[in-house]
């Protein structure tokens, strides 16, 4: 049998974002994986240097759709440290609340994606239906379903009303019950076990050596969590467990994430019962003094690192973002050793990759290749002409209504 190299991306149904992997296979067995990252480089770090802090915050928030709050919080914490701002306690608690709701939304989303990657669309539909509960809560609290925009330098932009607290608690009850069901499903369903156990194995030593973070590291029995080790926001005042697992495979990653969903429910209840009174923000200066700061933040996907340097002007001197996927993607080749082609989607999905996070930073260029471009009008004319010639249908009379 000959070795074949198949292109897995940049455009591939299993990848929700473009990134290129070349997969060499022998029959159905994977021989080697070559990753060529950088496809999604958007120049965000450079772009931040040309924006005011407050504008940069919204740009940073859009590094990633799913963990937008993570990036935004990590960034504002850096800026607040440089400016020496004391963030009010209520703001810290609200940030924690949104962070945990975001974690629940991210993990439920991941559970659905994992189901989809192994062809279990029913799991996808159910988890995403339940995820709507979190999404609705986030939309009511922050004003949007994904890019919450709750952070501002010096605090948060919106307060939480007592009615909203009651609503959150109701939502959390539903979610807790559903999470228990998914935990039960993960232990009962034979098909899930067949497709997940002993797939994408990463032993503890390799996980540590290759620098895995977040649920991937914890599923390989590495006991690390920035929320506990390097507490920020309100985490230092809360009681929660760090979920680890000894399976060291995709199945372990499922169990860790489902376990973290339960912990998030507990954290949210604690935050709501201990929510301090007081202001939600302090006034931040437009000019941030010279200085530098580093924030580590436990995003749903793992440790998110932000470094910001200010130079006394309205714009940052340098912003550096290390998204969790960059740390985890190097472990993927190791995980895929001796696996099947059919396991590639789920193994890659199991690190919960976010390539737009990973490749933040460059200008889109239109050079090099000969390209054919059509604008909307030309495309429409082409379509009308094609249908007239090939199908004998005259579409030009169809009126455009929007």
């Amino acid at each position: 049998m000959a070795k074949v190299t198949i292109p897995f991306g940049p455009q591939h149904p299993a990848l929700k974002e473009p990134e290129r992997f070349d997969l060499t296979i022998l029959g159905e067995r994977i021989v080697r994986l070559n990753a060529r990252l950088g496809y999604n480089h958007r120049g965000i770090e450079k772009a931040c240097e040309q924006r005011s802090y407050i504008s940069a915050l919204y740009l940073i928030e859009r590094i990633c759709g799913i963990c937008s709050h993570s990036h935004a919080t990590a960034f504002v914490q850096c800026v607040e440290e440089i400016a020496g701002l004391e963030v009010p306690a209520r703001a810290r608690y609200i940030r924690t609340l949104i962070a945990e709701l975001e974690r629940m939304h991210s993990h439920l989303l991941w559970l659905g994606v994992a189901g989809h990657e192994i062809g279990f669309d029913t799991l996808l539909m159910y988890t995403w239906r339940d995820r709507e509960v979190v999404m609705d809560l986030l939309a009511a609290l922050t004003g949007n379903r994904v890019n919450y925009g709750i952070n501002t330098i010096g605090g948060v932009r919106r307060d939480v009303s007592p009615e909203q607290c009651a609503e959150i608690l109701r939502g959390i009850d539903t979610l807790e019950e559903r999470t228990k069901y998914y935990m039960q499903l993960a232990t009962e369903d034979a098909m899930l076990a067949e497709r997940l156990v002993a797939v994408g194995s990463l032993c503890t030593e390799d996980a540590a050596r290759l620098g895995a973070v977040g649920p991937v590291a914890r599923a390989s029995n590495l006991n690390q969590d920035v929320r506990r080790d390097d507490p920020y926001a309100a985490y230092g005042e809360l009681d929660f467990k760090v979920i680890t697992d000894t399976h060291c495979d995709v199945y372990g990653r499922v169990l860790v994430r489902v376990g973290e969903l339960m912990e998030s429910c507990r954290i949210i209840c604690q935050v709501l019962s201990n929510l301090p009174e007081g202001p939600i923000a302090v006034k931040a200066p437009r000019k941030i003094p010279a200085g530098e700061a580093l924030t580590r933040y436990e995003a749903p996907r793992g440790e998110d690192v932000h470094y910001v340097r200010g130079n006394g002007t309205e714009r940052p001197e340098r912003v550096k973002v290390r998204a969790p996927t960059l740390a985890n993607v190097q472990a993927v080749s190791k995980m895929l050793e001796n696996n099947y082609l059919a396991d590639m989607p789920i193994v890659l999905a199991a690190i919960d990759p976010c390539f737009s996070c990973t490749d933040r930073a460059v200008v889109v260029r239109e050079a090099g290749c000969v390209e054919q471009r059509m604008d909307w009008k030309a495309l429409r004319l082409y379509g009308i002409e094609w249908y007239r010639k090939n199908r004998g249908i005259d579409c030009s009379k169809i009126k455009l209504r929007m």
Binding site: E28, G115, R195, A342
Partner: protein
Amino acid sequence: MGYALFNILVFPGLLFLSLFGMLAEFADRKIYARLQNRVGPPWYQPEADFIKLLAKEEIVPADADRAVFRFLPVVALTAVVCSSIYIPLWSRSALYSFEGDVIVVLYLLTLPTLTFFLAGWYSNSLFAALGAVRALTQLFAYEVPLFMGILAPAIVASSWSLSGVAQFYGAHPAYWIFNLPGFVVCLVALQGKLERLPFDIPDAETEIVGGTFTEYSGRLLAFFRMTIDVELVVGSALLAAVFFPFGLGLPPVAGFILFLGKVLFIVTLLAVFRTVMARMRIDQMVEFCWKYLSTAALFQVLISLAVKGVILG
């Protein structure tokens, strides 16, 4: 001759089967959606999809064999439509039958899978070729249990003709109870033949993009889609004819409605089956079929032999 042509092209051939196939596809998709707590498609969705595909531009890859590439969908559709005329639908005899037609039907139903393989292979595309190889690998795994499962009732009936089988069970309705294990085996194997979850390995979207049909578009894809719809109906009708031989003596209209009901019942079972399953890996699939499904099918054959030897003497 004219009557035969009418049978093949209009009723119960191409036209009827394609419309019924789309109805079955709708039922399948709607049940799938409702089990997933979704609204699901409206009743005309399969027709709309078909018409849309007909209207689309079809693109033949530059490296593909143009003639074969365009010809294969027609072969696939013809094979499944032809097999339908040997299956007794609502009376005790099929339109055409001869001793041994059950073998012909099974082989005609194998042809689409072979065309899928050729379609993937002649597309000259990496993903399509991978899908083609998987389709063929899978064929060898589910075909054996399916054949044994279908032939077991024929052993009891002492007839290699579907009409003969139907007549036997029409006369001795109680014997169908012995074929239940075979029915379960055939249901699972049919799911494999139709390349549906958990056996949609040849066109696993998240792994090999679209598998065998990666390069197909427009009318050609529409015909393949139609083939799968018709295959769903014909396969279910075959199972209904072999395993549910009740009410075959009813008047035509009532018999016809009963036939539709039987087919839709089997389609429902298939839909529920695919709702609760994840996709298997090809190695797991082959292992499952040989280890468990073939054993069960063999068990059914033993039952049939015992029934024939002991009860029927």
